[in-house]
Point group: D2
Chain length 114, copies 4
């Protein structure tokens, strides 16, 4: 295997204290948790396929399915974020709005290029 | 959340009996298993971030990091597959070669579009 | 070549009359036009490389460069759209805001999956 | 527009003298040229849409369509490359095979991440 190792496990401690403001996704929290549970299961499934030395193409098929599932979660989170956090900030206006929009654009750019 | 649910968990039973032929990735098996363990940890990390109602943008950052880690594993598997399974089939020639190349192209196409 | 032909050339007549509202990107119009001129040049470059029967890998390198250039333009347009059209609609509120946000999310989803 | 300018127009002079070996795609050359002509038309269409100050979302839709068209061409070229250049090299064996496979993997990686 000549490709570089994956990005080191990102530090997932929140960059800012959990936001008092109600994040958009929270009204759908249980569904997000269920979807992420399934993605965790897909990750375990990949581990088992390699452990059982299954055929490369079958494993690659699962990797693509898992990437699509991650895209689905990301798009849901982004849509909720736009409809709540960004709209609230837009109405508040000023620097808060600008910062929220820059942040959202940077997150979208990372998603488009990952 | 208005986007569709993720692709249903794919059936990971091998499409063909575990290949007697030695898959390319097996010589790096322990490293793939370690990387997939980390990806499983990232999936659990995402679940915890949603459970703790962390900030949407922080969660999206982790999703992008996880997609990149999956790309890294996929590219390693694909490179090993080309260097072993596809090369062996190319030397064998005939239908086996054609089938292997078609299969590899289809897997690459899924990766490019996921 | 066994893969399907590309998506038929999309009809580029505007889905709605040119918006009286000032689109965000218009303040950067000349830069967008210059970047799109370069992308047109990249397309012509690809055509010439195939016409001159250049090496496949060199052509593929140019395709990736062109896709990245398109991503750059798309992210600029999206950022301008969020900062102007979406913010204006968010402040107006009601159905206009909801429609704008849905539209933006759908455009982001297409970009993430293309 | 706060995002960086696109990758500078790549130098498209071939990294190696036009290959005496027959590239796989050449048997489909006219179809590739026709598809690239259409992509050039899509680039001009984007330029016109910005020039006419059309609606941002409509332009973004065309960018996604153009990226998908580029993916279609790239996948065709890659499949032809695997079936000809890589297979020939695999049969020749030795360093030529290794180099061809490394090159193909690097090109696939660029495509997956663009």
């Amino acid at each position: 295997m000549t490709t570089t190792d994956p990005t080191p496990l990102e530090d997932t401690t929140p960059t800012e204290a959990s936001h008092e403001h109600h994040h958009g996704y929270i009204s759908d929290k249980s569904r997000y948790l269920a979807r992420l549970k399934r993605i965790e299961g897909q990750a375990r499934g990949l581990h088992r396929m390699v452990d059982e030395e299954q055929y490369c193409i079958d494993i690659l098929t699962q990797v693509s399915a898992m990437k699509s599932a991650l895209d689905g979660v990301a798009m849901g989170l982004l849509e909720d974020h736009l409809q709540h956090c960004v709209v609230d900030a837009a109405r508040a206006g000023g620097e808060e709005a600008e910062e929220k929009l820059k942040e959202a654009s940077a997150a979208i750019s990372r998603l488009v290029r990952s």
